[in-house]
């Protein structure tokens, strides 16, 4: 168990709802759920996950901390916002799902090898580095995330698509050398570091 996680367990004891309310983006909305299930039925990834949003909310209220934080389901959000626009209690469900996923990742308890989790990390690194995302680098990083040989396999599998894009000038192989970046990368990086510092303070990771 990671240190952050241990600290969180100690801090909140059995009050997982409170933990979520304080530390998860829009977590204070969780208690407003009335278990109607419209989110569960609206999610395009519905047939694929184990826990619907509404069930996740009930699990939070019932103190099922481990089950929630290790759930694969919270990583399956496509950000389509169908749940949000239909929720009769106007819960920002998309954001809460993102928030739970982020929190689980932060504590280091999110499911290992969860593809979206890995992708998200790569994406963010890519972003922080230049202030903009470089699609080619990003894609390559994703394909090679499970090691070199798997990366080659992935790449071969997708080469038709990649070639098509290259042909259509929508994937530039030259990007690998240079590519786009913001001028004020330094400022952006400082700004992001500051944001994290503030948020950590607010959420009680640091005092």
């Amino acid at each position: 168990m990671s240190e952050l996680n241990q600290k969180a367990v100690a801090k909140y004891q059995n009050n997982f709802l409170k933990e979520v309310e304080e530390r998860v983006e829009d977590g204070e909305w969780v208690s407003m759920c009335m278990q109607c299930g419209v989110c569960a039925g609206s999610c395009p990834l519905g047939p694929h996950w184990e826990h619907s949003p509404q069930k996740i909310f009930r699990m939070i209220m019932a103190g099922k901390r481990d089950e929630v934080l290790t759930s694969d389901s919270v990583w399956m959000c496509t950000s389509c916002y169908s749940c949000i626009v239909r929720c009769p209690r106007k819960l920002p469900i998309t954001h809460i799902m993102h928030g739970i996923a982020h929190y689980a990742h932060r504590l280091g308890v999110a499911p290992k090898g969860q593809p979206t989790r890995e992708l998200a990390s790569v994406f963010w690194k890519n972003l922080v580095k230049t202030g903009r995302v470089n699609e080619l680098k990003f894609s390559l990083a994703v394909y090679f995330k499970d090691g070199f040989s798997q990366g080659i396999k992935n790449l071969l599998g997708m080469q038709g698509i990649a070639l098509g894009l290259v042909k259509a000038k929508r994937l530039n192989p030259m990007e690998i050398i240079g590519g786009h970046k913001c001028k004020d990368v330094g400022g952006i990086q400082k700004m992001l570091a500051k944001a994290k510092e503030i948020e950590d303070r607010r959420q009680g990771y640091t005092s």
């Binding site: 009335m34 278990q35 299930g37 419209v38 009769p88 209690r89």
Partner: protein, 432 residues
């Protein structure tokens, strides 16, 4: 503008549905002078358009018959239909109310013989059938209409149809030059009983009321079930007239929803439970009703009714707010969602979907006296004036989403409050 036709001892009741009729009658049967104004061409309001009441499964028109008989027998009540309140001025005990009387184009000579309807060709959507059917543009609102007079739809005025109607009437009942009138009346107290309207189902977009012919509302379903309705009481679906045997009832269609109505409309659970009876009545064991709900809200003795429906093998319950409806090629409807009791995903096909639409107060959309205080949903909560200085009282579904029984209680209470005002005013004036 014509002269005043009432005094400060008069109680004005606004709205001629069951609440308004009740308030008017209860006050009148205590000996008070009452003016009952109704915007439509007939008294009766929404309950007159229902097939049966829960939980007794009796007919709303039965009670209406009694109330109409009370009105016919009571000289203290003056009924004004096609009349709307434009403005209320003054204070408790001394209101001046401006009324607009829309032309009916038919006077009280009308004997309801029906010759004018036979003469006209134009048809209009019948508002008393929730537009599920057409009616001739000269029409009697319904069989229980009071006054029992025909109406000409304004759309035919100035057309040859209007002249045909006039020519067909042997009793000089049709007055094509009838004009809108504005009158002012005095009143000591006002009971505001303007009732409710079904929430606009088209706004609940995932359910496709505006796109799918076989998604209808609970009030429309009442008309389908009524032997006086457009299908003669047969449960036929609108798209193809096929018998609708497998029917979904979707609860909280608009209610308990911050995108629509914040409040719970109270009546819808019982209304749907009642409507499962219609389906069973029509098709026996081959009927199939499914209720999709969040919480079944049937309080007090109504629980008996719920229990009875639960025991009906043709009725199923799914705890779920339906996420969306898709129409298939045969115009059947596929409901998508998740049964939250234990999490079961479904995609179920139904012949017909009935949306248990919420009650929106009719106060949303009409001009109200300034001193009426509304709650967040637009129901009349009370008065802006200090306690004891108010003289306008909400009654029935204008004050809260109420069922008929509670509306009548509320209207009776409002009638007493109105009587208190005219009593106190008269005491002060030394009239009593």
């Amino acid at each position: 503008m014509t002269a005043s036709i009432a005094t400060s001892q008069t109680i004005l009741v606004v709205g001629g549905g069951i609440s308004g009729m009740t308030a008017a009658l209860e006050a009148a049967e205590c000996g008070k002078q009452v003016i009952l104004v109704e915007r439509n061409a007939t008294l009766g309001g929404r309950t007159a358009l229902l097939y049966r009441y829960f939980p007794k499964m009796c007919h709303p028109t039965c009670g209406m018959e009694i109330n109409l008989r009370r009105i016919k027998a009571n000289r203290n009540v003056r009924v004004m239909t096609m009349t709307e309140v434009l403005d209320v001025k003054g204070l408790r005990g001394d209101y001046t109310v401006k009324l607009r009387l829309s032309p009916r184009y038919v006077n009280s000579n009308c004997t309801a013989c029906g010759e004018c309807a036979k003469a006209v060709d134009a048809e209009i959507d019948n508002p008393y059938e929730y537009n599920l059917a057409k009616t001739r543009a000269a029409y009697l609102p319904h069989n229980m209409a009071y006054p029992m007079h025909y109406v000409l739809d304004p759309s035919i005025i100035g057309t040859p149809d209007a002249d045909k109607a006039k020519a067909a009437c042997k009793y000089d009942a049709i007055e094509l030059d009838m004009q809108e009138e504005i009158v002012e009346i005095k009143a000591g107290a006002i009971v505001w009983a303007t009732g409710w309207k079904p929430y606009d189902a088209a706004r609940i977009q995932p359910y496709g009321y505006d796109r799918f012919a076989n998604v209808i509302t609970s009030v429309e379903f009442e008309r389908l079930a009524s032997p006086h309705g457009p299908t003669g009481g047969k449960l036929l679906r609108p798209s193809d007239g096929k018998e609708a045997k497998n029917i979904a009832f979707i609860q909280c269609a608009g209610s308990r929803d911050e995108n629509h109505l914040r409040h719970c409309s109270r009546i819808c659970c019982m209304a749907s439970l009642k409507q499962t009876h219609y389906v069973r009545e029509a098709y026996g064991d081959s009927a199939k009703s499914t209720i999709y709900y969040i919480d079944i809200r049937v309080i007090d003795r109504l629980e008996d009714f719920y229990l009875q429906v639960q025991q009906d093998p043709t009725v199923g319950f799914i705890k779920s707010k339906v996420a969306k409806i898709v129409e298939d090629k045969e115009s059947n409807l596929v409901l998508h969602g998740v049964d939250t009791e234990g999490y079961h995903r479904y995609a179920t096909t139904h012949d017909l979907v009935v949306l248990a639409v919420g009650m929106e107060p009719e106060t949303n959309g009409i001009k109200l006296p300034d001193d009426i205080l509304l709650d967040s949903s637009g129901f009349i909560e009370g008065s802006n004036l200090p306690a004891g200085t108010e003289g306008i009282y909400g009654a029935g579904a204008s004050s809260s989403p109420l069922d008929v029984n509670r509306s009548v209680q509320s209207a009776t209470a409002a009638a007493l409050r109105a009587i208190q005002v005219v009593h106190k005013t008269s005491t002060v004036e030394g009239v009593r």
